[in-house]
């Protein structure tokens, strides 16, 4: 029964709201383990949906699900120790809401029905808003308000997009259920004008959630104000889920023979996101905001890769996996930095290499990884996207792509060097680092290295079948 992936975290989440914090933390880890196992079963095709009208196992969905589940496990392991040290108003809310959040993200990954996908993405907003507000400060309130407001406008526009897609069915005289699997068969009969309009609104709507510029304004605030495990979850899991919404729209366009139009839209949004990130990352004062802008950049890279098509699509899918692994590791390390220095400002940190050697190793390695250095996977994925774009002869867009990458590396490395090696004004360690809070970061980085060196064949096949639906190949 495929729906267990939603039902288990949903029920456990509701129970965890009423349990004492310690018990809740344990429950979080146990549920995460169970969820990962179920995801793997679903991947092996051992779970069939009870409601085949609404849910289905698709290759791209299962990829997102596996990544979400894997990242969630390590984040919940980290949270066990992190929550001990930090002061938040109500820990049961954290435990409950993260589990509900996991349930809604699983729903996104498995949704096959246009409206079920929309409901699931809306539900992720509702479930993650309390996570951002956990610290209950004025700035947390501001970030939460922005997040809910901007994402709600986005989700309303996405609903409009859904209406247009349905209208294109009506005008094309199609009578099938509004599921992606049945639309696939009859896509060429859909009315092209309204399908295009629908796609634009879907991209704007889900793109808001994914952090594509210029709808990204909620993202840096939300990521910097949320407690670090929640930021890791937002960046490593939620953005992928929103991307899945965009991906499904692109799939439909490709099947309807309008792939060129949607590719151009995605390339445009992708490049714009990268450029905006490159400009804003330069003078960041907070390290969590810096990481958030890097997430915007990486979402832009993924959109760009998918838009380019061919080999670049394969690169984009690899990028999605590795970005989740490395970025959540970075956010977890940033939690240690925050505990240690007690400030989110880069100026208040310094000399991490000496004061926090373990966190330093994880953070610096993560930074090298996210900037595209081997042996981390982003090296391969970015290389594939660049080669793919050259194969297609997109010289102009690839020049902008490489320029943005260079600028971001220059901007971020200045800040990271300052954090790691510059002298610290006030070298007092508030909370000492420990293995419980660094091992999850290392594990996530190790996973990225492993997948870069040795990609298991079943995973390779899944990626290939996922990208085949939008004309990607090797």
């Amino acid at each position: 029964m495929l729906e267990l992936l939603i039902l288990i975290p949903l029920h456990v989440g509701i129970i965890a709201m009423f349990l004492p914090a310690r018990l809740g933390r344990g429950l979080l880890v146990v549920t995460a383990l169970l969820h990962l196992q179920l995801s793997v079963f679903a991947w092996m095709g051992k779970l069939t949906p009870q409601l085949p009208d609404y849910f289905a196992v698709t290759n791209e969905g299962i990829l997102v699900l596996l990544v979400t589940s894997f990242v969630f496990l390590f984040i919940s392991l980290y949270a066990v120790s992190y929550m001990n040290e930090t002061e938040i108003s109500s820990e049961p809310i954290y435990n409950g809401c993260t589990l509900l959040f996991l349930a809604t993200m699983s729903m996104v990954a498995m949704a096959d029905h246009l409206i079920v996908l929309w409901i699931a993405i809306e539900a992720t907003t509702l479930m993650s808003a309390p996570l951002i507000f956990l610290h209950r400060s004025k700035t947390a309130l501001e970030a939460t308000w922005k997040y809910v407001m901007i994402c709600s406008v986005g989700i309303a526009l996405a609903l409009l997009g859904c209406f247009f897609v349905v209208l294109s069915m009506d005008l094309g005289g199609v009578h099938t259920p509004i599921t992606f699997s049945s639309l696939k068969e009859i896509a060429p009969q859909l009315d092209p004008v309204w399908l295009k309009a629908g796609f634009i609104f879907l991209v704007i709507g889900y793109g808001t959630k994914m952090g594509l510029a210029p709808m990204h304004t909620w993202l840096p605030d939300a990521h910097s104000e949320a407690p670090s495990p929640a930021s890791a979850l937002l960046s490593g899991a939620l953005l992928n889920c929103a991307f899945l919404g965009v991906y499904r729209g692109h799939q439909l366009m490709y099947q309807a023979g309008l792939g060129d139009f949607s590719s151009a839209v995605l390339v445009g949004f992708g490049l714009l996101s990268m450029l905006i990130a490159a400009i804003f990352i330069f003078n960041q004062t907070g390290y969590k905001r810096m990481l958030a802008y890097s997430s915007i950049e990486n979402m832009g890279i993924i959109a760009f890769g998918v838009g380019i098509g061919g080999l670049a699509t394969y690169g984009a899918m690899l990028h999605l996996i590795h970005h989740s692994l490395i970025k959540s590791s970075l956010f977890l390390s940033s939690g240690n930095v925050l505990l240690g220095y007690g400030s989110k400002l880069i100026d208040k940190t310094g000399n991490m290499a000496k004061l926090f050697p373990k966190t330093f190793t994880a953070f610096f390695a993560g930074f090298a990884g996210i900037s595209g250095f081997p042996p981390f996977g982003i090296f391969v994925s970015e290389l594939l996207i660049i080669i793919g774009a050259f194969q297609q002869g997109k010289t102009w867009s690839i020049s902008i792509f490489i320029l943005a990458l260079t600028l971001i590396f220059a901007g971020a490395s200045r800040l990271v060097t300052k954090m790691c090696f510059a002298a610290c004004d006030d070298p007092e360690v508030l909370v000492k680092e420990n293995w419980a809070r660094t091992l999850p970061s290392f594990a996530l980085l190790l996973a990225s290295i492993t997948l870069c060196i040795w990609l298991p064949d079943p995973l390779y096949q899944t990626i290939l079948s996922a990208i085949a639906t939008i004309g990607g190949n090797i």
Binding site: V166, D170, P220
Partner: protein, 228 residues
């Protein structure tokens, strides 16, 4: 036979009247600065908007299910959300929206412009909609645009929520305009889930004031987070 066409004619007239009332409420809300008045206007708009589907021709033979849904819609849009908002306005103890980003006269003018633009767009679309009623689409687009405008041009959190609500009414109307019973049954109705988001936002406003984490619910005060 004549009587039947007469009846249809008058039903269409009634729909037109309701649509005109919607546009009127949009213009009123753009020009008003008292929060309580705004809430009342939104309650009125909610009722009118959720009544419109009853009076459209192609909805003549409605299923029992959709009639029940429409009534739920009426209850939520007309009573529940405005009631909730009324509580919020009482709690935050502010009566007026002061210093809007864009002034009231300019806002009214923008509203008139939206009507023109909506009429232009509707005219240009040239599609055979299931509902042969141009005014419906014009109203829908106007409401959507004015809602977005209100959302961006006002500083108070509660006025922003009102703008969002208006935008949502517009989306609901567009859905109604494009709807054909076969497919969209229970698609347009899912718009009601957006009301859930509105509910959460209002709850946020109410809860915050109780915690008194700020004295004034003004998003202009929410200006701490920015990129330097």
């Amino acid at each position: 036979m004549i009587q039947l066409t007469d009846a249809l004619f008058s039903i269409n007239h009634l729909a037109d009247a309701l649509l005109s009332l919607t546009i009127l409420s949009v213009l009123l809300s753009l020009g008003s600065n008292r929060l309580l008045t705004l809430v009342k206007i939104m309650a009125f708009q909610g009722i009118v908007v959720s009544l419109i589907p009853f009076f459209l021709e192609h909805h003549g033979e409605m299923h029992t299910g959709s009639i029940v849904l429409l009534q739920i819609m009426l209850l939520i849009k007309g009573l529940l959300i405005p009631g909730f908002m009324y509580t919020a306005v009482q709690k935050i103890k502010i009566q007026r929206e002061v210093e809007p980003v864009i002034g009231y006269n300019a806002s009214l003018f923008a509203g008139l412009f939206f009507i023109l633009a909506a009429a232009f767009i509707t005219d240009r679309l040239h599609i055979s909609l299931p509902v042969e009623n141009d005014l419906l689409l014009i109203t829908a687009i106007t409401t959507l645009a004015a809602g977005l405008f209100l959302l961006m041009s006002r500083k108070k959190a509660i006025t922003q929520v009102i703008g969002y609500l208006m935008m949502e009414n517009g989306i609901y109307l567009i859905g109604t305009a494009l709807a054909k019973e076969t497919h969209t049954m229970y698609v347009v109705e899912f718009g009601v889930l957006l009301d859930l988001l509105v509910g959460i936002m209002i709850m946020g406003i109410i809860v915050h004031n109780i915690n008194s984490s700020y004295d004034d619910v003004d998003t202009a005060l929410l200006g701490q987070l920015k990129d330097n």
